[in-house]
C-alpha cells in the first residue's frame, strides 16, 4: 500500500513539474527469463494520448518491455519482473491487481494477425461480452460498428459481418485485431510490430489508423522500421542490449539524438 501511494505522489509530482500527464510510468524495470536477464533497470514513462515508439535492434528488449506493460509476460514460464510499473495510480504488479482487469485497460495487438476462427462480428464482440460492456444486442451492434469504424474496416466488411474473420486479407485481419482491441475501450493499446506481416499498402492503412486512434487512446508501438516510428509516433524510445538508451521527442530523435548509439542505429550502422 505504501508503494502505491508513493507512486501516486511521484506521479503527481511529475505532473506538476512538467505539466505533462503520464499514463504509465516504468521505474527500474528489469526482466529475467530464468537466469537470463533481458531488461536492465529501464525507466520509461508513457505520455497520455501520445504514440510512443520503441525502436532498437533485434533482441534489444523492446518487445519484452512492451509485454511487461500488460503483464503478458506472466504467460511465459520462468519469467520474472522487478521494478515498478504504474498505470495512472495503480502499481500493475501489485498482487492485489487483477491481471484480467489490467488487460482490459491495456489492450494488445500482436505481430501476426490472430483473429479467432469465428465470424468478424464475434471477433469484435468477444471482448465486450466477457467484460459485460453491452447489455442488449443493440448495444453490442453499436460497439461492433463503432469499433470497426475506428479501425477503418467498417465499409469493407459491413455486408459480411457474419462471415469468418480468417477469410480476410492479412491487412484486414490486422485491422480486425485492432478493432477487437478497441472494442474493449482500453486506455492504452500496445502494438507489437503490427505491420511486420503486412504489405506496404496495408501498412499505410494501419499507420493512418494509429494516427487517428491517438485522439482516444494512449499507444505504445514496437517497430522495426525507423521510417514507421518517424511517421506515426510523437515520442521514441531507443533500446539496446536490454537497456533504454534514449527517450526523446521523435523529431529530435531522428534529427539530433543525444546518444551516440542512437545516432549510429538511425544511420544504419548496426541493426
Amino acid at each position: 500500500m505504501n508503494i502505491m501511494s508513493e507512486a501516486a505522489v511521484e506521479k503527481a509530482l511529475d505532473k506538476k513539474m512538467n505539466d505533462i500527464s503520464y499514463k504509465m510510468i516504468g521505474k527500474d524495470v528489469s526482466v529475467y527469463y530464468g537466469d537470463k536477464r533481458a531488461l536492465y533497470d529501464v525507466n520509461l514513462n508513457v505520455r497520455e494520448n501520445t504514440v510512443t515508439a520503441l525502436i532498437g535492434p533485434s533482441g534489444c528488449g523492446k518487445s519484452t518491455f512492451l509485454r511487461t506493460l500488460n503483464r503478458m509476460n506472466d504467460t511465459i514460464e520462468g519469467c520474472r519482473v522487478t521494478g515498478r510499473i504504474t498505470l495512472d495510480t495503480d502499481d500493475i504488479y501489485d498482487p492485489n491487481i487483477d491481471v484480467v482487469e489490467l488487460r482490459a485497460r491495456v489492450g494488445m495487438v500482436f505481430q501476426k494477425p490472430n483473429p479467432f476462427p469465428k465470424s468478424i462480428y464475434e471477433n469484435v464482440a468477444y471482448g465486450p461480452r466477457i467484460h459485460g460492456l453491452a447489455k442488449a444486442k443493440a448495444d453490442m451492434d453499436g460497439i461492433v460498428e463503432s469499433s470497426l469504424q475506428k479501425a477503418g474496416l467498417w465499409n469493407e466488411v459491413k455486408d459480411r459481418l457474419h462471415e469468418g474473420g480468417t477469410g480476410l486479407s492479412g491487412g484486414q485481419q490486422q485491422r480486425l485485431c485492432i478493432a477487437r482491441a478497441v472494442a474493449v475501450s482500453p486506455e492504452v493499446i500496445l502494438m507489437d510490430e503490427p505491420c511486420s506481416a503486412l504489405d506496404p499498402i496495408a501498412t499505410a492503412k494501419v499507420e493512418e489508423l494509429i494516427h487517428e486512434l491517438r485522439a482516444n487512446f494512449t499507444i505504445v508501438i514496437v517497430t522495426h522500421s525507423m521510417q514507421q516510428a518517424a511517421r506515426v509516433s510523437q515520442r521514441t524510445a531507443m533500446f539496446h542490449l536490454g537497456n533504454l538508451v534514449e527517450e526523446n521527442d521523435t523529431d529530435k530523435m531522428f534529427t539530433n539524438p543525444d546518444d551516440q548509439r542512437t545516432q549510429d542505429y538511425i544511420m544504419g550502422r548496426f541493426g
Binding site: N70, M72, T75, E77, V100, E101, L102, R103, A104, R105, G107, M108, V109, F110, K112, N114, P115, F116, P117, Y126, G127, I130, H131, C177, R180, A181, V184, P186
Partner: protein, 442 residues
Amino acid sequence: MSQVSTSPSMAALGATAKPERRDIGLRGRYAAERRFRLYGMAAIAFGLVFLFLLLFSVVSKGYTAFQQSMITIPVEFSEQIIDKDNERATNPQKLVSANYPVVARNALAKVLGVSEDDRQGLRAINGMISDSVRTQLRDLVTADPSIIGTTRTVSFLAHGDLDSAFKGQIDLSVAENNRKISDKQIGWMNQLAESGALAKHFNTGIFVNGASSRPEAAGVGVAAVGSLYMMLIVLVLALPIGVAASIYLEEFAPKNRFTDLIEVNINNLAAVPSIVYGLLGLAVFVNFAGFPRSASLVGGLVLTLMTLPTIIIATRSALKAVPPSIRAAALGLGASKMQTVFHHVLPLAMPGILTGTIIGLAHALGETAPLLLIGMVAFVADIPSTPLEPATALPVQIYMWANEAERAFVERTSGAIIILLIFLILMNVGAILLRRRFERRW
C-alpha cells in the same frame, strides 16, 4: 588465348576421353534393392492377407446367423394335453406348466403323417423342434386362454441341428451315427421345405434375445444392452474427467515433479494390460465397495478407468494443436485464463477430442478380459433394466459362445462378431468423418 591448334578433335578442345567406367557392383546392388523392396511389399501383403482371411472367416461362418429356419404349421391347442381336467379357472399355474412341446410335436407329426404311436418317430420329430417352443406356446396360451381347443397356424423355431442341416452346414456324407441329424429327419426336412412349412426367415431373435442354452434361441440382446449401459457410463465419466485432466495438464499445470509424475503415470496407464484393470475393479469396486458383481455399472467404471488415458492423450494433443496466438489474442483482450481456455481453445480442440473419445470408446466396446474378472460371464436371459442388474457385454457373449461345443454356436458366435464389428466400423467411420469435416490446418 592463343589458338594453338586448329584441329577440331574433341581431345584437343580440352575434353578428356570418357574414362573407364568403374565397377561399383551396380547389378548386385540393384538386385539387393529390388529384394529389399519386395520384402517390404510382402510384409504389407502378409498383413493385408490375414486381415482379409480373418474377416472372410468370420463373415463366411457368420452371415447365416442372420437367417433362422422356422417351421410354420397349423397347431392344435388340444385341451387334452394342455389342461386335461379343465382346472385353469381355479389353478392358473396349470397353463404355465402344461406340456407344450408335446403340442408342437403332435402338430408336426400330423403334418408329416407320423402316427402318434410311433415312439421312435416322435422322438425324432422332437429333435427337429427348438425347446423355445415351450415358452412361445405358453405365452400364446396365457395371453389368450380361449385358443385352447382351437387350431392356429404358428411359426416356431426349428431345432439348431435342423437349422444347420437346412443351411447345408452338416456334411451328409458322414455316417449317420456320427452326425447330429438322421436320414429320416433329413427326409422330413426336405418334405417340409417342399411344402413351404420350413423356410428361412430374417433372424430378429439374434438381436433381441438373451442367453439360452439352445443356439437357435440365443441372442445378443442382453449383451448389447449391457454394452450400451457401459458405453454410456464411460462416455459420461471418462469424457469430462479426461478433458478436465488434460486442460489442467496442458494449460495450467506448472512444470514440476508432480505434473511430471502424472505425465509418466498416464503414459504407463495407457500401457497397463487390460486384465489388470479387471483385477482393480474386482478388488476395489466389487470386494471393497460392495457393488453388485456382473453389473454393467462396475463394468462401466472399469472401462472408464481403462479409457481415461486414451482420452487424455488424445485431448492433450488436440489442445497442443491450437496455436498459441489464439491464446495470446484472448489474453490480450483481458480474458482470464479460464475464459481463454473454455471460450476459444477448447471449442477449437473439440473435433480432435471427440475423435479420440470415439476411438477410446471403440476400444472399450471390444474389451473382454477385465469384464470376465468382474463376473460378467453370466447366464443372463432377461434384458437388464438398470445398470445395477446383471448383464453381459457383446465381446463377453462372443467369448461364452466360442466356448460352446455345438456347431450352431459357431454360427452364432460369428454372427455376434459381425454385429460387434459393424458397431466398431460405424464408430470409426464416425471418427474419420468428424476429423475430415472439422479438421483445421493452421
